[in-house]
């Protein structure tokens, strides 16, 4: 995926959050830091920074999720709790009272816990829990303050009247409801984790761990406070630090969960490489199971002929009819269905992951289809090349026959007629006419001879009528140098095979005469297995180059059209050997 404009914008926001968050935390905690010992104030500062920092990273890395911005917001809200220090410093009851807004950070935290990593409250119960939390933080938490002022200078603006008894009862109610709510939230998250499939558990796991850690810590601290009313300052500081540690673990856990999801995404790359080797639907499924950690994942490949999706084992893959926790991602190319993946619905939370998987799977399926297409086209091209060759051979044979039956016959008749005339004039009554006749007769015979050579070059009749052995013999007889036929098959082959073998020998012998400066050549044609192997070797100068002459190039095409191969071995000074291997079955 390209670093899109969205990603770049998210990174800028994350940077801005870190800078302003740093300043904001320092500003709001400033009076706290000034008036309290460092072991109280610094952890407070760190908790906020932890939220802002983790949020900024999450924002930059996963801009499509709301988790980053919410964690950052949580960090900003956290520092509002410290405003009361400024209230005291500036002598402002308003600021002092506004410090209560800081408790809203709990609302954001609970929302994150209940929804992570999606941005929706998954059930009616979680929605109820969320709104109860809002009520708790906004109303119940502030009720004790209506009847008691814990500020040193009467700064509590919520105070109606001083009634320690009422305040005590309300504080008890608040404590009890808060505890119940906290437990309910934890139970809900555990339940969600329990019902989740493996991919979702991986993401939710760290958050759950941090939640449990916090419940444990708070429980321990509350229990300790209740059991030991008289505590040393050391113990108070230590327990305070442990509580802060728990708070810091929460943003870290959110970030951890996101990063685990991210690891998975990094493996999509490997997955593509994995698949490239042999992209079958079954391998695609295996690879997807590995990458997504969803053992129940199914893959359907769209079969246009059947107009439906089929799984690797050929059973129908129904795109609709999906259980609530399963989702189907369709693979499409230019709007045409290619395949479909049924997977854990939790995976949809990671839009980028699903996109990456979709792209990779599409690539794999497409690659398979393209390979198949290329193979198919290659077969078609091969078939058409063989057809063209056959058609050309048929045409050559036809032309040869036309020449033989037409012009050649007429020239034969002409020669005969001239011969007859000559014999009639044999008495020598008119020597001038006799000479002219002889000349005409010679011309006619030469024309006939040339025409025969031409016809033979187009397609030798002997090859069609008598077969390869006779045709090779003829070639050897007509060659400019002595040619030995060391072996020639007595059986007949398909016309195209015989023609290819014949023309290879003819062209090779022509080349021998033209370039090789050889004294002799040997032709060998024999059947080896299901191939006809034709070898022409000479004792000439060598150094022939297939690329040089169009003759050999054309022969290579002819032989390859029959799925055979032509090779030329021609070392300078060591003669030339041309070998053609032609499948006899074609």
């Amino acid at each position: 995926m390209q670093p899109s404009a969205t990603t770049a914008r998210a990174r800028r926001w994350a940077c801005a959050a870190v800078v302003t968050g740093g300043a904001w935390g320092l500003l709001l905690d400033w009076q706290f830091l000034r008036t309290y010992p460092a072991y109280f104030a610094v952890p407070d500062l760190i908790v906020g920074y932890a939220h802002i920092g983790a949020g900024a990273i999450a924002w930059a890395r996963r801009p499509e999720l709301y988790v980053g911005p919410l964690l950052v917001a949580d960090g900003f809200v956290w520092y509002l709790t410290s405003i009361w220090h400024w209230g005291l410093y500036l002598d402002s009851p308003v600021l002092y009272t506004l410090g209560r807004l800081g408790n809203l950070y709990v609302v954001i935290l609970v929302y994150l816990l209940l929804t992570f990593p999606t941005n929706r409250l998954p059930s009616g119960r979680s929605r109820l829990l969320f709104w109860l939390t809002v009520l708790e933080v906004a109303v119940v938490a502030n009720l004790p303050a209506l009847f008691a002022d814990s500020s040193p200078a009467g700064f509590n603006m919520l105070l109606i009247r001083d009634d320690p008894a009422a305040a005590g009862v309300l504080a008890l109610i608040f404590g009890a409801t808060a505890a119940v709510l906290a437990i309910a939230v934890v139970v809900t998250v555990v339940g969600r984790w329990w019902r989740s499939t493996i991919p979702a558990r991986r993401v939710l796991g760290p958050v759950l761990l941090a939640g449990a850690f916090n419940v444990l810590i708070i429980g321990a601290v509350v229990g300790y406070y209740a059991l030991v009313p008289q505590r040393s300052q050391m113990a108070t500081v230590a327990s305070n630090l442990v509580v802060y540690l728990g708070r810091v673990s929460i943003p870290a856990a959110f970030l951890g969960g996101l990063m685990r999801a991210r690891q998975r995404r990094a493996r999509v790359g490997e997955f593509v490489v994995d698949l490239a080797a042999s992209p079958t639907p079954e391998r695609l499924r295996e690879a997807l199971v590995r990458v997504l950690g969803d053992p129940d994942l199914e893959v359907g490949i769209y079969v246009p002929e059947a107009n439906r999706y089929l799984t690797a084992d050929g059973t129908p893959f129904v795109v609709e009819n999906t259980a609530e926790d399963r989702a189907v991602t369709l693979l499409e190319r230019e709007g045409e269905p290619v395949g479909a993946i049924r997977h854990d619905a939790a995976l949809l939370d990671d839009v980028d992951l699903v996109d990456a998987v979709r792209a990779a799977a599409l690539l794999a399926v497409e690659n398979d289809r393209l390979q198949w297409e290329v193979r198919d086209q290659l077969e078609q091209v091969k078939a058409s090349r063989a057809r063209i060759l056959r058609a050309a051979d048929d045409e050559r044979r036809r032309i040869e026959r036309d020449i033989h039956d037409g012009a050649q016959q007429r020239l034969v008749s002409l020669s005969l007629a001239l011969g007859l005339l000559e014999s009639k004039l044999h008495d020598g009554s008119d020597p001038e006419v006799g000479q002219s006749l002889q000349l005409a007769s010679k011309e006619a015979r030469e024309a006939l001879s040339e025409l025969r050579d031409l016809a033979r070059g187009i397609h030798p009749a002997v090859l069609t009528d008598e077969g390869l052995a006779a045709a090779l013999r003829l070639l050897a007889d007509r060659a400019a140098i002595p040619v030995t036929i060391a072996a020639a098959p007595t059986v007949r082959f398909v016309a195209a095979v015989e023609a290819a073998a014949y023309f290879v020998v003819a062209e090779a012998l022509t080349n021998v005469a033209k370039y090789a400066a050889a004294t002799a050549a040997t032709v060998r044609a024999e059947v080896r297995g299901d191939h006809l192997v034709v070898t022409i070797s000479d004792d000439g100068v060598g150094g022939a180059d297939v690329a040089r002459g169009t003759g050999l190039r054309g022969l290579t095409d002819r032989v390859q059209a029959l799925e055979g191969e032509l090779s030329v071995v021609s070392h300078p000074g060591a003669g030339t050997t041309v070998t053609a291997r032609i499948p006899t079955g074609s």
Binding site: Q409, L416, G419, R456, P460, A470, R473, L474, D477
Partner: protein, 92 residues
């Protein structure tokens, strides 16, 4: 010349009826080939001398022509009484 035949079948009949001394036989026949027919004639009682001819030249028939049961081959364009007589030899 004592007879003529347009194809292999009628040639066989003609040879049986006329019992010729010499046959000028075209290799390219409409219903067969002269080389095979010459073999047949070589097998009859008192076999005639066969001279093969064709509008193609000798080389185009390969080794079969060389081993044919005939006195020889004259290309059609070179056909003449003397050419045939040369092939048949002095004892005719």
């Amino acid at each position: 010349m004592i007879g003529e035949a347009a194809d292999a079948a009628s040639a066989v009949c003609a040879v049986r009826d006329l019992n010729p001394q010499v046959i000028l036989l075209d290799i390219g026949l409409p219903d067969g080939d002269g080389i095979t027919l010459a073999e047949h004639f070589a097998g009859v009682a008192d076999p005639p001398d066969v001279v093969l001819t064709s509008s193609r030249d000798a080389g185009e028939f390969g080794p079969r022509l060389r081993s044919a049961c005939a006195r020889g081959f004259v290309a059609k364009d070179a056909l003449s009484g003397p050419a045939i007589l040369t092939l048949l030899g002095p004892n005719t």
